[in-house]
Each structure stands twice: as C-alpha cells, then as structure tokens.
Amino acid sequence: MNNRIILDNELLHLTLERLCRQLIEDYGDFSDTAIIGVQPRGVLLSDRIVEKLRIILKTPILYGRLDTTFYRDDFRSSGKQLKARETDIEFTIEGKKIILIDDVLFTGRTIRAALDALLDYGRASEVKLMALVNRRFNRELPIQPDFIGLTVDTQAGEVVSVDWGKDKNASCVIILKEKP
C-alpha cells in the first residue's frame, strides 16, 4: 500500500480557515442560516467549522446533525447494513438557508439522501453544499459542491479518508490506494 497524504495538518487548518471566511463572505452574520453536518463523518468537519465560526463571529449559529441512513438507496444492495446515527435538528428549517457539510463528496448518493431527509424537516429557502474533498470523477448523480476544500482526481477503487487524529495537530487527508 502506498498511501498518499494530500493535505497535511498545516494545510488542512489553512483550508478550514479559508472555508470559514468564504462562508462569512456569503452569509454575513448567519441570520436565517443554519449549518447541518451529515452523519457520521461530515459532522467531524462541521463541528470544527461551526466552532471556528462561533469564535470569529462571536454570535450563536444554528447547527444540526443529520443522519441519512433511512433515506439511502442502497439499503439492501450495499451488502452490509449501516448503523443509524443520531439526528438532532432542534429548529425549523422552513425558509432558512442551509449549508450542508460532508467530508468527502464522491458518488453524490449520500447528499441525495441528505436532501431527501432534509425535506422532512421543512422547505429550506436554499441548500448549498460544502465538501472538504471533492472527488471529481465517478459522480453518479448531478450533484456538485458549492464550497470545496480540495478537488482531487481519483479512481473508483481508491478511498479518500479524512483522519482527524487524536489531538488537534494530527489531522490530515489521505488517499488510500486500495480499499482496506
């Protein structure tokens, strides 16, 4: 296995910083806006983004976590059953601008499920997508991210994994050459 690190710890923190600034540019003080992290791995990213935004803006930001398990289209075909995670959206999303956050965008099927799940909480006025890593090839649905940390060209057999590490200074993004 020759794994490749495409974003080391230092670059990753710079990227997160840039993504936050981009959000502030577009959403200002985040009134009428909510951030929603996609369970399970998107939440690890959205937790960090929201934490940074709250420090920079010093205002409360509406933040929820969304589980897509029950909305997936590969319920029977994926071979292994997914474990359902917690959904906690304790506000109404009716009429709000939503920023959906996931760590890696690949086939687009998780985001398709997330959009369906989101509909059950009301009609958002708009939904935009943030992905830390945008895998350009092998998309199976017409879904594109609006805020991108890094775009990479990978093959279907490869795995892109974000390792958030045990402490704050040990995170990185890795491409695994083979499926583990």
Binding site: F70, Y71, F75, Q81, A84, E86, T87, D120, Y121, G122
Partner: protein, 307 residues
C-alpha cells in the same frame, strides 16, 4: 455490530446481548423519527408486511401496522375470524398463499407456542413473533427494556420486579430472558399457583409477599391476569387477588422512594393495578406504547435488510 445474528425474531431466547443492544440503539433513532412533524421515512418502501393475527389484539397490531407504515412499507392485515382458516385451511397453506402475493415480512400472533418456529423452517420470508401462546412476545420485552433504559439508564444491576400471572404470561418469559441478558436482577411475585415450578432455573428469584417485593425493586412491571388461558381456577376470586397482589397507592406510599410502574396492557383496572397508580406520574404505561412503535420499526428495519 450493525447486524442481527438471526433472520427471524421468534424469541428473545435466541438473541444475543449484542442483538438486543443493537435493536435498542436503533429504536432510539426511530423514536426521534416518530416525533418529527413528518413521522415517516422511505426506508422500506419496497417491502410488504403481512400482519397475521390469529388471536385478538389492539395495541400490538396497531403498533406493528403503524411501524410498517412509518417505514413506508405496504401492509396487509389478516384476522382469524374473517379468514379461510375457518374453512379448514392449514397454517402453512394460509401463509404460503399470502407469501405467493410477494410478501417479504410476516408479523404473526398465534395461540400455539412454537407456531413461528415451525413456520420459520418452512417459509422464506422473515418472521416477527407478535406473541405465540404462553411462549414469548419478544417485541414487548424489547420495548419494556427500551422504556426502562430511558428512565434509569443501564439496566445492569437494577432491580426489576414482575408481578402477577407468570404462568400464562409470554411477556414475563420474554422479559426475563431480555432483562437477564442485559444484566438486571429479576424477581417475580404472585400467588404460588401462578408461579411456574423451577422458574428459578432462569436466574430469577421469587417473593410471595408483595410489600417486600415492592420495597426491593426500582421498577415494577405489573402483568394482567389472563383468565382466558386458565382452564381451572388458580385463585379464589379477583377480589382476593387484588387484596393480596394488587398494586395500589397504599402499598406504594409505604415505600419511601418512588418506583416506576409498567404494564404491558390491557389493564384490568382495580384488579392487578388501581387507577390512582396506573394514572400516576410514576406510571410509564403510555410511554411504553409510544416506544412500542419505535422498537418495532427497529426490528423490521434490521430484519428486512437481511433478506
């Protein structure tokens, strides 16, 4: 663990501790779903569930039907009294005819213990036992455990009392298996004629004095007296039963700390449980009913993925 170790849910006896914990954890996510403004997810939209009830039921059948509908499954309901079973059709023929219409999941209640076990060896669909005679009622035990956990957290080391008709109660049997697997201490209380011999073999203790038993427990699960299953009289009168084994406010007031009161329903008010206790703040009987839908959704979800 994200898989059940079994293809059917026939009894808690066949489940592992991991299976039980997986169901309870999945039920938690479904409880969140059924409390949303839109209480429905599209997960099982390609699944058809047959509810076959060869015995009367209000709660369980409605609960299973709602659970299926909230998972977007199609449901068909079958009741014994209006079916061809009356014309002499066998159980296997009835079920096979229904399965021929492409049914994926069978939920069945049957008066004969072992009916589900027999079916599971002869049909392909997943089976959920909604009660088989005096044998088991696994989803009730799971929803009981779920409701208990919501109130007291981890059940390990907790004292749980089951009061009443243990002899004829499938709920008691399933509860005992489930609670023991989760590490709880289980005590039974009731008239000696309604406590089966050698029940201690299941790892439970027996106490005939209800006051002592209530003082010992954190949670009391009160069972219904199942007169319809008694072929001979096992106690003199309902009044006498109520005097010696009924749970009432007077008995509970003597205990300094509050204990949680549960009942699987239907309640015979004034017999095993008085109204002032059944409707008190310590009673979680209606929460059990709400949790029943979430737990049954979890069971269907986990089994449907295994076909």
């Amino acid at each position: 663990m994200s898989h059940l170790s079994t293809k059917h849910l026939i009894g808690i006896k066949d489940l592992t501790k991991d299976d039980i914990e997986l169901v309870l954890q999945t039920a938690k996510t479904f409880k969140e779903v059924i409390n949303r403004p839109i209480k429905k997810v599209p997960t099982l939209r390609d699944t058809t569930v047959a509810n076959l009830f060869f015995e009367n039921s209000t709660r369980t059948r409605t609960s299973f039907e709602l659970a299926a509908k909230r998972l977007s499954a199609d449901t068909i309901n079958f009741t014994y009294s209006s079916s061809s079973v009356k014309k002499g059709e066998t159980l296997l023929d009835t079920v096979n005819n229904i399965l021929a219409m492409k049914v994926d999941l069978v939920v069945m209640r049957h008066p004969s213990p072992g009916a589900h076990s027999f079916l599971s060896k002869n049909i392909k669909a997943n089976i959920i036992n909604a009660g088989d005679g005096t044998h088991e009622h696994p989803t009730q035990a799971l929803l009981d455990a779920f409701s208990m956990q919501e109130k007291v957290g981890d059940l390990k080391g907790k004292n749980i009392l089951i009061i009443g008709d243990i002899m004829f109660s499938r709920v008691a049997r399933s509860d005992i298996f489930c609670l023991k697997k989760l590490g709880a201490n289980v005590k039974l209380c009731g008239p000696p004629t309604l406590i089966p011999n050698y029940i201690e073999e299941l790892g439970v203790t027996v106490e005939y004095d209800i006051q002592k038993a209530l003082e010992w427990c954190d949670i009391a699960n009160v069972l219904r007296i199942q007169l319809e299953r008694q072929s001979i009289k096992l106690f003199p009168s309902l009044r006498e039963y109520s005097l010696y084994y009924g749970v009432n406010k007077k008995r509970l007031d003597k205990i300094k700390r509050p204990i949680i009161i549960m009942h699987p329903g239907p309640i015979n008010r004034g017999v095993e449980l008085t109204s002032d206790v059944a409707d008190s703040e310590h009673s979680i009987i209606l929460e059990q009913v709400e949790n029943g839908v979430a737990v049954r959704m979890a069971c269907m979800y986990l089994l449907a993925g295994k076909s």
